[in-house]
């Protein structure tokens, strides 16, 4: 593999990949007889152009940051966590239980407890695949995928049979009182009117910084990276690979569960069937596009936030472009940044290793 200059590897390559994805997406928009330039304009306006749209973008970004961190943290330990979807879902149970138990209490008390309780539930859910990997060798990819399904079934049962109050038709828990919910930013900042972005957004920013510190500035992070890069050397270094795997998976689950704090605690105020709605899976794409680095995760989470919010705006504004088309464009971004992310590496490498003919002539 050709070595690229660091800036090209970190910035140029991902940007080119996104541009390529949009070019191909543009062709599809052209093919259905719409103007791709106009489509991009609507998308960007929908994501940034007005306060409420921007708020939605940040709200989605919050979800994707947490899900992305859940994947990338595990990835640093060499574990491919496909389970943030289920971990977030189960985390929602923790959030709503503590919320309902303290219903009516001021959010300043409940918010931290929601974080802790949600994290515990998410961590417990992710710990099981971690345990199975460490002690039994069951591959964490398989188990986390399966645990998504188990979480969906289990939560479906809990919501519709246990948490659903009598006399309510839709599958959801009892609501939290307004004072207990995580406050939305619109109550402080006029700009975000009608948008659900809430205090959890700042928690996401803090989580990015925390993960950076954890991975690159602590003994624990050192052990995680040693394990992820060379498990034999980690064993040689006296690191208990089994313990690390279980701890890292639990931590990843805790991060995934913060999606639930954002949604259940900050927006819905109740636990709704299927509230995660794919955010956990987007986290996988976010983590890979962001190369596991918190800065990258933050930026790619923002990109997917734009795609989500701008895409909905686009589907609304341009009747020729359907929901499915938006999903296709999102899929193209994942395809080009994730699955084919190294496609341009070879050509780029050749460009960079070739001596510049002009400079060479001097």
């Amino acid at each position: 593999m050709t070595a690229l200059p660091r800036w090209a590897d970190v910035i140029l390559l991902p940007v080119l990949n996104v541009v390529l994805a949009f070019l191909v997406g543009g062709l599809i928009v052209l093919a259905v007889g719409q103007n791709p330039i106009e489509a991009v304009g609507i998308m960007l306006y929908g994501a940034f152009g007005y306060g409420s749209g921007f708020g939605y973008t940040l709200y989605y970004t919050t979800d994707f940051i947490f899900a992305g961190l859940a994947v990338s943290l595990a990835y640093h330990a060499g574990l491919f966590n496909i389970g943030p979807e289920g971990q977030a879902y189960v985390g929602g149970l923790g959030v709503i239980l503590i919320g309902l138990a303290l219903n009516g209490t001021h959010w300043a008390i409940v918010f931290p407890l929601m974080i802790v309780c949600g994290a515990l539930f998410g961590a417990a859910w992710a710990f099981i695949p971690g345990y199975l990997q460490a002690k039994r060798g069951s591959h964490v990819v398989i188990t986390t995928i399966l645990f998504n399904f188990i979480a969906a079934s289990m939560m479906g049962y809990i919501i519709s049979r246990i948490l659903k109050p009598a006399g309510v038709n839709s599958d959801e828990s009892a609501p939290l009182e307004a004072i207990t919910r995580v406050p939305q930013l619109r109550s402080f900042i006029e700009l975000f009117r009608n948008s659900p972005v809430n205090l959890t957004f700042f928690l996401a920013i803090a989580a990015l910084i925390f993960v950076y510190w954890l991975i690159w500035r602590t003994k624990f992070g050192y052990a995680v990276r040693a394990l992820g890069n060379n498990p034999v050397a980690a064993n040689y270094a006296g690191i208990s690979n089994q313990k690390m795997i279980m701890i890292v998976m639990a931590l990843a689950g805790a991060f995934a569960a913060m999606v639930a704090v954002n949604n259940v605690g900050g927006v819905q105020g109740r636990l709704i069937l299927n509230f995660v709605n794919g955010a956990g899976f987007v986290g996988i794409a976010v983590a890979f596009m962001g190369r596991g680095h918190p800065v990258g995760v933050g930026l790619s989470a923002l990109l997917f936030g734009i795609l989500y919010q701008g895409g909905q705006e686009l589907a609304f504004q341009m009747p020729g472009i359907t929901r499915e088309m938006i999903v296709t464009i999102q899929a193209l971004v994942i395809l080009f940044t994730g699955a084919m992310g190294d496609m341009l590496r070879g050509p780029l490498g050749r460009i960079f290793t070739q001596p510049d003919p002009v400079a060479g002539g001097k």
């Binding site: 602590t218 040693a226 060379n230 040689y236 270094a237 690979n241 089994q242």
Partner: protein, 555 residues
């Protein structure tokens, strides 16, 4: 294919009894900076058993992989039955009548013998006709060569020896005229090995050609017609087996090079710092590799373990370092038994005062993606910083000191470790382990892939540690290194310590014979007390059952 190329027949070599089945001319192969095969010439006569001996890493397997089409040679020519061939892959090799029986079998465990034999050689999309045809052929092969295996048995239910027979059958079924066997007896019991040799004898009678790769000289003497010796990627000599002796082969194999001069005073052994008692260790496949070994290393002495690679030294080192669970026995450092519960035994071994320079720095001793300073604290990471945070400044300071003291080049703390040369990588590992002032230092292959100047430095550092009253256990496949450094030599063969020697007076030939298990007085018999060869099903049971730590002392 049987008709002889007339041009070849006129070659001077062609004057000998049998025509050449395989001829390799001037084969060269590089892997990066490693010159794995240097200008190899090899001629194998049809209808003979041709042995290839050499230490691990001598280039035997590379050479055979080139012949079998796994690798392509950088230069050189391969002639099969006199005709030059460019062998592109193993299918091509098979078409030319070359079959290979690998050290690690390439069988589908849950298929039957018959299914494995026809796999990849099916005649049509329908399996039935192929299977029927194969069944008849297997019967004939079994009758002709004594290769009896039940065609409907599932592979995982067969013993290792029977699985090997299936591999041979696979090659013969595909029309192999030349069979390459890579360390075929490494996994066999003596009885199974005898049976294998009877089969090989029959194959030779029927006109097949056999290339036997091994490092066991007794096998070479017992079965081969000719033997080629390889050392460090080069072909040293080809001899008629009848005209050579194990002594001569051992000498050629191990090499007789000038001893590196190491300035070293007499040892002053003190207290026992490392005490290994009745140690039994298995490898990852639950095959015993260290078979009831006991020895002691005292303060101020270097004990060298000599042996051909793959005779249990790796497992011994890993077990002492706390990385590999033992089946039995005790290891005491400073008189205190090491606890091995859990998979972080290496941390406790370090805490007890043991440092470990692993045999394979890339696989074990370094995280090659890490920067140099990060690797300089690997294993000691918990000593940097009081809280959860890593004291990066302190780690970088230490790393800088190490790099200066051990002259690591380039002295760049942030350079990724994979970008250092092998010798400099080794210096990072050595500095890290030796500068911690451990009581016991265990060192595996300290100078593997290290240039001459650095070797001298490393040797002097090891001597210096000895003179500072440390107990040092040195494992090396370089006999010269052992002889020049060690105060006592233990020879390891097939998981046993087969002899002890004084480096000053030891005879090199004698050591070579001990190392290859062909010493007349010290022939090794199987221990008999160990379940050396379980069936795969039993192995699975062992792997699944909880580890028995009851016999171990913990502290």
């Amino acid at each position: 294919m049987t008709s002889l190329n007339p041009e070849n027949a006129q070659r001077p070599e062609g004057a000998a009894a049998a025509p050449l089945a395989i001829e390799l001319i001037g084969i060269n192969k590089h892997f990066g900076p490693v010159h794995a095969n240097r200008d190899i010439h090899l001629a194998v006569r049809r209808g003979t058993v041709h042995g290839i001996v050499g230490e691990n890493g001598a280039g035997k397997s590379t050479l055979m992989s080139i012949l079998y089409g796994f690798y392509t040679a950088d230069s050189g020519e391969i002639r099969v039955n006199g005709a030059p061939q460019t062998i592109t892959d193993s299918r091509h090799a098979l078409a030319l009548g070359i079959g290979m029986v690998h050290q690690h079998f390439m069988l589908v465990d849950n298929f039957t013998v018959l299914e494995n034999v026809v796999l990849g050689a099916e005649d049509s999309a329908l399996l039935r006709p192929t299977l029927n045809k194969a069944r008849d052929q297997l019967k004939a092969l079994a009758r002709d060569y004594g290769l009896e295996v039940d065609p409907d048995a599932i592979i995982e239910n067969l013993s290792v020896g029977q699985q090997q027979r299936v591999e041979i059958l696979k090659a013969l079924y595909r029309g192999a005229e030349t069979l390459i066997l890579d360390e075929p007896t490494g996994v066999l019991t003596p009885a199974e090995a005898d049976h294998l040799f009877r089969i090989l004898g029959k194959l030779r009678e029927e006109g097949k050609t056999i290339i036997l790769i091994t490092h066991k000289l007794r096998e070479i003497m017992a079965i081969t017609d000719e033997v080629s010796v390889m050392r460090q990627g080069a072909m040293v000599q080809t001899l008629k087996t009848a005209e050579t002796s194990p002594e001569q082969l051992a000498e050629l194999m191990v090499g007789r090079r000038v001893l590196l001069r190491v300035e070293k005073g007499p040892a002053n052994p003190g207290d026992v710092l490392l005490d290994v008692e009745n140690l039994i260790v298995t490898d990852d496949f639950k095959v015993p590799r260290v078979k009831n070994i006991s020895f002691q290393v005292r303060a101020g002495e270097i004990v060298g373990i000599a042996g051909v690679a793959g005779n249990g030294q790796s497992e011994l080192l890993e077990s002492i370092a706390g990385m590999r669970d033992q089946l039995g026995g005790t290891i005491r450092v400073n008189g205190r038994p090491l606890s091995l519960a859990g998979d972080d035994g290496a941390a406790r071994a370090r805490l007890a005062g043991l440092a470990h320079v692993p045999e394979d720095r890339l696989r074990m001793g370094l995280v090659t993606n890490f920067a140099a300073w990060e690797n300089a604290i690997l294993g000691y990471q918990d000593k940097y910083g009081d809280g959860p945070g890593l004291d990066i400044a302190k780690a970088r300071d230490i790393a800088g000191e190490y790099m200066k003291k051990f002259d690591v080049r380039p002295a760049n703390l942030d350079l990724k470790t994979s970008n250092f040369s092998g010798g400099n990588q080794q210096k990072i590992v050595l500095a890290r382990e030796m500068e911690r002032d451990p009581d016991v230092l265990i060192v595996g292959q300290p100078t593997r892939g290290v240039d001459i100047g650095a070797i001298e430095f490393i040797h002097n550092q090891i001597i210096k540690m000895r003179d500072a009253g440390k107990a040092i256990l040195l494992v090396s496949v370089e006999l010269d290194e052992i002889r020049s450094l060690a105060d006592r030599i233990l020879v390891m063969f097939d998981g046993h310590i087969v002899g002890e020697a004084d480096p000053a007076s030891a005879d090199e030939t004698e050591l070579g014979l001990l190392m290859t298990g062909s010493h007349p007085d010290r022939a090794v018999t199987e221990p008999g007390t160990l379940p050396a060869h379980e069936t795969p099903a039993q192995q699975t049971m062992v792997q699944m059952s909880p580890k028995d730590n009851s016999g171990r002392e913990t502290n």
